[in-house]
Symmetry: C2
Subunit: 790 residues, 2 copies
């Protein structure tokens, strides 16, 4: 059919669409209210109503309308489709629809498509032991919770990347549209390749109100809204009204128009070689909030106002008038026409529902683990740096990793199931080797000076941590792999997003029907110790603390001290499933400490003694020098060298920790080491001087239950920073080699007197440092040129 010339659905089809919609509306309201009498076969009495009324009605009729009409086009066009429900608090709607289409009962057989199942569907909703009120992981067909608003469109694009056959519809509420992340997400269309990616169809649902206010976009004059959407690069198609028949007709036509345009654009790019950026359609759906619900309650308007946001009739059990209104409302959907006596939806209701995996609740894209393939990972020895002697050669760890990632990128060239995302920092983070294998996605105009921009590129760069995170989440949740490289300080921008992803994974793991997906992997580089040039605003190592507060079954944190350990950790996390892995690693030249084999063994243990660095000889050491992170490791090794030189009788041990959760008790984290192992590493009674990458008290928080905890003395970042030299950063925070030696002297019993002269020497070196940098602006040669030479 030629584009934009749709006659629309027949009256008969409209009747079936409306029947489906009414059924979904009935089931949505039923979930919020009913404990019993699900089919209203008897007059509604207070005891049929839940004692505690929870759930969001306001958005549900609109979501039901979209679900109905997506069903229609999926069926008509045999589409492979997924929908992101931005107003995911409208849980009743998606639960209702998946129940109607049968997927719900297939996954949860006791909630099948009959009266008993309907009764359970109603009762379980927002009920203890039942199901959450939002579109949580428990809901089939969902990859997006929608509790915390802002990320629906980013998730939609993430799902569409490298899924050329997929249509990703995305309902955006006008409340969510006010958030920064959503507002920024519109420009994702500049990164969507019409050849290798699927299509995203945003449906901006203007129901006019948030919890207590009108929305900004709903109150814009129509032409201003259209300018905005065109400015975002979309062609808007508006559907507006409150008469169901009219809206059904308009929505069906709008869907057909949008899908024709999408098909045409994809054909042009894929078959005709058109390279112009596509102006993708967007549907603007303007329908009343709480549509078809009570118009007025207690004399106040409810339908089409914010008052219908949650439960429009709040006092049903106590207030006979509310009870009467509820019954009238529910009966307005004419349930007797929609369900047979056994509670089964009649044929007319199901006429629009697609079959099998085409059903939105059954699409494997929303259970991405089903589609996931092992990532091809090369032999690390090919990328390892040679280490003849520890601490004498320098490499930039992230650059070494870049070579590995380039190989992965190359080896997935055809499969296209690996993406690297980052906020304009891939090259700055020294991962630019990947550009040899794939350019950066870019659909806008290019100029001759541009480098590595590619319509078909799989590296995603935009100056928005929110979009990087949202895209990658959508990509992973639909069964692919990826890595997010980010400045350490600014990953806090997505603190809240990672919370939500961790919660999603945590819950998903408890659902046997959800297959494990690839982990969300962060590479945090340009870290606190080497933000000496950008200064205080760029110094924040607290993301590790944030993540370690969350479900221990899901979160992992690694601090590889050199290039080969970074390779080993990266290999591990890229193979892992259902985790959030945080790697903190430097991009600046860093001494190589371990051979590839030693690195593998060390990372497998997660923490271990570096006996080549210490001076204990079989016996117990006098003191343990522990380190986690690349810069702390270097300072500890430099301190070790000073101790060897100045206090040759001292028996000290060097322990390096890569996997920070190993410090936790076993009961608190699966990686936690048993007490005997901890005691074996750190002793139970000797001083432990721990040089840690981030906030020092994190180590105490992890190790507070350990026997030797009172001997633990941690150095780390204590919010002292500015624009200065690299070594001055560690001096300011008392993490430098000289201070560590002083700590040893202060903590080892009896040493303070014996080693007073050495201690003074260390203090003098710190003074010398201060004078030198003020004079020269660089670090003094004894620091800048230091190497391991024990």
């Amino acid at each position: 059919m030629p584009e934009d010339q749709h006659t629309g659905p027949s009256d008969e089809e409209l009747r079936t669409l409306d029947a489906h919609w009414r059924a979904a509306n009935y089931l949505s309201a039923g979930q919020i209210y009913l404990l019993g009498n699900p089919l209203l076969t008897e007059p509604l009495r207070p005891e049929h109503v839940k004692p505690r009324l929870l759930g969001h009605w306001g958005t549900s009729p609109g979501l039901n309308l979209v679900y109905t009409h997506l069903n229609r086009v999926i069926r008509a066009r045999d589409l492979d489709a997924l929908c992101i429900w931005g107003p995911g608090h409208g849980g009743p709607s998606i639960l209702a629809n998946t129940w109607l289409e049968g997927t719900y009962g297939e996954i949860y057989p006791d909630v099948g498509r009959d009266a008993a199942g309907m009764a359970r569907l109603f009762r379980q909703f927002s009920f203890p032991g039942g199901v959450p009120s939002h579109v949580a992981p428990e809901v089939p067909g969902s990859i997006h919770e929608g509790g915390e608003l802002g990320y629906s469109l980013a998730h939609a694009y993430g799902a569409a990347f490298d899924n050329p056959g997929l249509l990703v519809a995305c309902v955006i509420g006008d409340g969510e549209a006010e958030t920064g992340p959503l507002a920024g997400s519109w420009h994702s269309n500049k990164f969507l390749d019409p050849v290798h990616d699927g299509a995203v169809l945003p449906i901006l649902h203007l129901n006019g109100y948030k919890i207590a206010n009108p929305t900004v976009l709903a109150r814009l004059p129509e032409p201003e809204l259209e300018e905005l959407l065109r400015g975002y690069g979309h062609d808007p198609i508006t559907v507006s009204g409150d008469d169901p028949a009219t809206v059904h007709r308009a929505m069906a036509t709008a869907m057909d128009t949008a899908l024709d345009r999408i098909a045409q654009a994809q054909r042009a790019a894929r078959e005709d070689g058109v390279t112009e950026r596509v102006r993708w359609p967007v549907i603007v759906l303007r329908t009343p909030k709480g549509w078809t619900g009570p118009a007025e309650v207690d004399g106040k308007p409810v339908e089409n106002t914010w008052r219908s946001h949650q439960v429009p009739l709040p006092g049903v059990r106590e207030n006979p008038e509310h009870l009467r209104q509820l019954e009238a409302w529910l009966k307005s959907y004419r349930p007797g026409e929609l369900f047979d006596a056994d509670g089964r939806p009649v044929d007319e209701v199901l006429a629009c529902v697609p079959e099998g995996d085409r059903r939105l609740g059954a699409t494997p894209h929303a259970n991405g683990g089903l589609l996931l393939r092992e990532l091809p990972l090369p032999d690390l020895d090919e990328f390892a740096v040679p280490v003849d002697k520890p601490g004498t050669t320098l490499h930039e760890p992230t650059r070494v990793l870049g070579d590995l990632l380039a190989r992965v990128m190359k080896d997935t060239e055809t499969r296209r199931d690996f993406r690297l995302v980052g906020p304009d920092e891939t090259a700055s983070n020294r991962l630019d080797a990947v550009f040899d294998a794939s350019g950066k996605a870019w659909q806008e105009r290019t100029l001759p000076v541009d480098e590595h921009l590619d319509r078909h590129g799989r590296v995603l760069e935009i100056l928005s941590e929110h979009l990087c995170q949202g895209w990658l989440e959508g990509y992973l949740l639909t069964g692919r792999h990826g890595l997010f490289s980010c400045y350490e300080a600014f990953v806090h921008i997505v603190d809240s997003m990672v919370n939500q992803h961790i919660k999603w994974l945590r819950t998903s793991r408890e659902l046997t029907w959800r297959a494990p997906i690839a982990s969300l992997n962060y590479l945090l580089t340009s870290h606190v110790w080497r933000q000496d040039h950008n200064g205080f605003s760029h110094q924040d190592p607290g993301f590790v603390d944030h993540v370690l507060n969350k479900s221990p079954g899901v979160v992992r944190v690694y601090l590889p001290p050199d290039a080969n350990t970074l390779l080993s950790v990266a290999d591990h996390v890229l193979r892992s499933r259902d985790y959030v892995n945080v790697i903190v690693a430097g991009k600046q030249p860093c001494y190589d400490w371990l051979t590839m084999d030693a690195a593998r063994a060390h990372c497998a243990r997660g923490a271990g003694v570096w006996d080549w660095a210490g001076t204990e000889n079989g016996g117990e050491p006098d003191v343990v020098l522990a380190c986690a992170g690349d810069v702390p490791t270097q300072e500890v090794l430099a301190a070790a060298q000073l101790l060897r030189r100045h206090l040759p009788q001292l028996a000290f041990r060097v322990v390096n920790v890569v996997d920070i959760a190993r410090l936790m008790p076993r009961e608190e984290h699966p990686h936690g080491m048993p007490d005997f192992e901890y005691d074996g590493l750190f002793t139970t009674d000797k001083p432990v001087i721990f040089a840690y990458h981030g906030y020092p008290w994190l180590i105490h928080r992890l190790a507070y239950r350990r026997t030797g905890h009172q001997n633990l003395h941690v150095r780390g970042y204590k919010e002292s920073g500015t624009t200065t030299t690299p070594f001055d950063m560690v001096v300011r925070n008392d993490l430098d080699r000289y201070r560590l030696v002083m700590d040893v002297i202060d903590r080892v019993p009896g040493l303070a007197v014996r080693a007073a002269a050495v201690r003074q020497r260390m203090a003098d070196a710190r003074t010398r440092h201060h004078e030198w940098i003020r004079e020269h602006g660089t670090d003094m040669p004894e620091v800048a040129e230091w190497s391991w030479n024990p």
Copy 2:
């Protein structure tokens, strides 16, 4: 002059503008490169060049252009103006301009307007012991760092609210424009009252590139960009070019046009009573990145590419050709014409510079403490709830606070220096009494159903935590007061913003010339324990952990257990200066524990024994029951009642903690209590069962140095949540009264055997709970109807 009919500046004026611009460009480049020879009075040699080249050149010429032209209009129109420099990494530019206008030397007399001062200006930049490379607090005239991008426009609006005489210019880089928060900020204009607020003039600076990529907005076709900006509600005025004379002329005309339109809109609203929403102007400034810098380096284009982002000539000390290019570049500004032999800017350079406080570096709005007035705070007794007997009456604490805030709002009606911000949750958080005193700011269309919308309202609601935070920061930094009420879980959305604000305050406090500003106050409500209805996605108490990682001199956290303590805490934080105060308090009905007088005394101490609740009688207790937070307090009191009933011989103490930092050692936080006080409260050797609002390990992290730490047993939120009942939330996380009693039995030596039957009784109660909620969906009466009845 009639609008839009400017003939533009005279040739003579253009010459002076260009001289000023060239001087600023010279000084910007000089800061990045020169250690000596600041006026190039001798041939440039390697030793004149810094050994470590740091700073951002790319954005500087554009910022310099804006500064020059703002100078011009401020002087010509005697404007009260402030500028937010979004690309705040362009520190050299703002430092150069404030030096030129004289404000820098007035604040830092050793960096005066002469050759010696210029030498120091150059040397100190990004040099150890010198000044940061960004527009940090050290820079006069700044309230915005610009290191973490995204918040400039929100800050600008915050500064403009309730400053009717102020023009806030805001330079937005095209990199920053890609961030979500910035993209969302454009709609701030729907909340700007042309009568009582000042004007915001956004200047979108399209220099085309980020660190390594072209920018999304710079590569849009011009008409698409204009649609976008009109869709945002602005009227764009474009200035484009790379010929300085042409750009100067166009920029002068654009500024005049924009300011005329602003003046006209304000006149229409203020004098003619026009109420239509204003379409404010926006200037689009399209100039090359690194403009006037080296065109090519080592055969690669640099000017007008991303390669000029930081240091365009990287090898000056080692590479004679780079040295030659640097000298030619610096000389291209003809410094000999700009500065006299003593390094003083010549008259022509300074012709455009305004006088006194009109200078952008001298405006008191950027040193808001100078303008700050004490907030009028009423007597708390007027708002206090009566408490004849603890734990028998219920109030919603935030509703009680709402009455106080309403009074503050009313008492600032004329002064207009207090704002309440929140993401659509003021009423949901039960602070709606404030609407009696002020409506919600709203410039869009209204409908008859709307409530409390007001063109002149001072309550700010938009569904964007980023905007709430950014607006409030801008408002506070310019010398006003406010409170941000937010769902506890979703305040993580602004984790990174609060980091930056804390860093700003921390640094500002060390600057004697910066006057203290009002604290940033959070009211976190709808908290983890009462998100039983929204479920797991809405449950996260980790913001407290995040904040407590930051500078202890700045951060304060309060957990008032009831309405009167909330009043006392709110009163305290609203009077405080230069802090970030986090209050966690419930909105649900909560027992009143303390009279107003007792609440005042308790909050002043921050932690104390509730002797009416415990059973010790002078002697040492057998066990301490500690609590922090409203729900934990209720559970501890309920546990206390059970202990009194079932174990009447047990001597236990109840300690309540309001100010959580009191647990920290004194050396680590100014509120930390001395050891003798801690030991006095918690004992040194008795078990302490601590019921805490958030993640339990936070308490260990705060108290790990205390003598009795090994006896501390903390219960709190451990990421176990779903949609369920309120009491089930505490049961799931082992924070319930029954579990606490079991903890006491398990921890008090010898009690396990003696009290085995009581323990079983408690376990049975938990079982009963599980059965009850599955059956009824509500909490069992013994819990739901519990009150303190010892």
